[in-house]
């Protein structure tokens, strides 16, 4: 009995003392759906917050509210935004983070620090680089009937599935960003009139934005990296005979299966050669020019496609080397398997990477032709 009395008093006192210290009520939160950071001319950071408000009644559709603030750090900007809006700003359900081009050319790592430090940060938010200013893209407010941040988020999501842009979140780029032997690639978000276009990719070297890849190149990059999404559709010009009409000279195909092998070879003179073998099994989606009933013709097409793709790979790799973006993690391979070479090269890996000799070899094989020959 004494024990019960003791425990109940204890519990009672405990209850009286309770302050619900960490309570963070959902109803008191203003949820940020997306955010953008831009560089101001004076070196400060211009933050754009997209706050989504959901009305109580089911008939009304949700609305976006945009707040622009300037601060020295993203966190300061957020605090300022908090001062301008009722209730508390909460970022934990942020879906998309857009970094303005100019700011991305500075140090992304320092910008993202707050996301890595805060346990409640939206770790699985998507991240992308904006062409021009993030503010301009977010200021569209609506694309068609879809609210801006949601549109971008879903757009990136669908583009990830078609192997157009890399599948990255704030979390997944963290270990890559910190690793000296690998660089990351982000979706590149462009404003096209009143719409948003996500098809290019932004390359980074260390913490800086250094260049972009066009849609074909970024698909090729992802194939080379062995990160094929559900689909990977490419359209290539086919020129078997020269005197063909120009219009229907193309073939659209989808990569069904891709198999990559990467080998890093070190010559005695420390010349690094990277062999990239890529075997693609493709299905033809559109080929208006010809029928595919002949085995010989298919073999010829395979050859042509292989060559086209190898060219594309070369072009992509050149571009990446020019941007110093080690997106394939060659440095990583050196660290792991050739530590001696790495020790010599790591001081200036960026420029050493540009000297790496890539030998891509892509074999394309048509395995499906659709329901006609």
């Amino acid at each position: 009995m004494k024990r019960i009395c003791f425990s109940s008093t204890f519990i009672f006192v405990f209850l009286l003392l309770t302050g619900c210290w960490d309570q963070d009520l959902l109803k008191d939160a203003r949820l940020i759906y997306g955010g953008g950071f831009d560089l101001e001319p004076n070196g400060k950071i211009l933050s754009t917050f997209v706050i989504r408000d959901v009305p109580v009644s089911e008939q009304q559709s949700p609305k976006n509210e945009l707040i622009y603030t300037v601060g020295n750090t993203p966190r300061e900007a957020r605090h300022k935004a908090d001062n301008q809006i009722s209730r508390n700003i909460r970022t934990y359900r942020n879906r998309i983070l857009i970094i303005g081009e100019e700011l991305a050319k500075q140090d992304v790592h320092q910008l993202l620090d707050v996301f890595y430090r805060d346990p409640k940060s939206p770790f699985n938010a998507r991240i992308g680089v904006a062409e021009g200013k993030a503010k301009d893209i977010l200021s569209l407010k609506k694309v068609g009937n879809v609210l801006i941040a949601e549109e971008i988020d879903e757009l990136i999501n669908s583009k990830e599935k078609t192997t157009t842009v890399p599948k990255v979140t704030i979390e997944t780029i963290f270990p890559v960003m910190m690793d000296p032997g690998e660089d990351f690639v982000l979706p590149y978000i462009m404003k096209k009139g009143k719409r948003v276009d996500v098809s290019n990719s932004a390359m980074f070297h260390k913490y800086q934005f250094t260049g972009t890849l066009n849609p074909d190149e970024s698909t090729m990059y992802l194939l080379l990296k062995d990160e094929k999404g559900k689909m990977a559709t490419l359209t290539k010009k086919i020129s078997i005979e020269k005197d063909q009409k120009k219009v229907y000279n193309f073939m659209t195909f989808n990569v069904e299966k891709s198999k990559r092998r990467m080998k890093v070879l070190i010559q005695p003179d420390d010349q690094i050669t990277v062999r990239l073998d890529l075997k693609l099994k493709v299905s033809v989606l559109e080929f208006p020019k010809d029928l595919l009933d002949d085995k010989k013709r298919v073999a010829r097409l395979n050859q042509i496609l292989s060559k086209e793709m190898t060219d594309l790979a070369n072009k992509t790799l050149k571009k990446m080397q020019k941007a110093r973006c080690d997106g394939l993690g060659i440095g990583r391979q050196l660290i792991a398997f050739h530590p001696d070479t790495w020790k010599k090269q790591k001081e200036d890996w960026g420029s050493n990477y540009q000297k790496v000799h890539f030998v891509p070899k892509i074999q394309v094989e048509i395995i499906k032709k659709g329901i006609i020959m």
């Binding site: 309770t18 619900c20 963070d24 959902l26 109803k27 949820l31 989504r52 959901v54 109580v56 934990y92």
Partner: protein, 506 residues
Amino acid sequence: MMDLFRKLFSNKRAEKSSYINVFPSLQKNKEYIQNQLFHSSDLKWRSIRFNQLSGLIVFFESLSDQQRIQNEIIRPLEEKKEGNVDAIIASVDIAKKSDLSQLPQSLVQGNCVLLFEGTAEAYIVGMAAENKRNIVEPENEGAIRGAHDGFIEHLITNLYLVRKRIENPSLVVRYYQVGKATKTKLALLYMQNLANPDLVEEVDQRLGSIVMDTTISPGFIAEMIEDNPSSLFPQILFTERPDRAVAHLMEGRVVILSDGDATAQILPVTFFAFYQSPDDYHSRWIVGSFIRLLRLVSFIIASLVPALYIAIIGFHPEILPVNLIFTVKSSIDKVPFPPILEALLMQITLEVLREAGVRLPSRVGQTIGIVGGLVIGESVVRAGLISYPMVIVVALTAISSFVAPSNEISTATRILGFPLMILAAMFGLIGIMFGILFILIHLCKLESFGTAYFAPVMPLRIKDLKDTFTRFPIWSLNQRPHDPHPKRVNQERYSRGWVHDDPEKE
């Protein structure tokens, strides 16, 4: 403890020893009995002459069967006029007593007392009236298939129901009388060849140590003999179903039946016994397993979901995925209360509604449905006092808690939710986890009659889990559950032996 026990026994003996001889004079006897029974108005007399002696038949008209007295005592005596009383009276239960002080007690038990002038002995004839209701299916323990009979308030009928199912000489019945004033009759039932003798002895001792004037409901007895009366969890299984009682008897447990109540008490039981129902064994085993799992899940839902909801809404909204969070947010935005208050309000409303539903006569009962379901459920949200998700949570809790086949555990689970809710409101998920840990510790501490309450999970016995979370096919349950420590563990060998001796296959 033992000293006290002994003292009580000696007290009882002292009471009994006030022995008074039956007076030879009828008048004196009559006076004595009347005085002892305080001239109660329902005490009846009838004079009779037999063997040329004037006699007296004394009985309570409220307790004795007057029809039988007339047929079995008065008519034979009147017809024969003389002879041996024992031989003439056509009744099973007849005894001679010379102790006058015992007569009032036997009268109170419904016996009829026969006295003769000049004889210092009284005949006590069992003439108790049997007013009992029909054997019907217990209302709150219905089963879809299987036996549809239930215990009633009449002890002997209840014993009949059990004995009829176990036609085995090993079934032992022991009578007890508890309640110094009410003298409630109890029957302890067990299988001699199965029940652990230590258990039987322990129960016997505890029943014997009850010193109390009135024992009305089995709840009284349960509270007297339970190991942990201050625990929230019931440790004795109440049932009104004879088939359930029999099943437990055959697992080596002990059943206590009490006169005047339709409830059988089964002990020792584990937590999981409260989530088993005879229905499980009547349906196919896959279905039975599914339903049983469902019940255990609903236990978790009933005790945990309100707390989880509070923790998520109040502490960790980031757990919710993006689509859900906006849906939830839109509906809770205008609620004026913090989630804990909201939950407490709704939970208490629910308890009130439930209690009102039990008390109200069934004709008015529909009103409760309308008031509770429509008015409170709908308007409270319309008025913006409570959010839709909270109403859903509370409704889910209520429904899940009623899934439990035992009413005791279903109430316990809902009450269990309250401390968890408070912990959730203070520490979020961390608080809930500590709450669960505390409950687990408590469950693993609990022992009832030497049996671990949370067996076979704590202590772990994998063989017994077959019939705990799931219900394996009966032919695979070769052993009895281990928790009551039965004398014989094996209950089945290989009943599907016919599978192999199929001559057609050759």
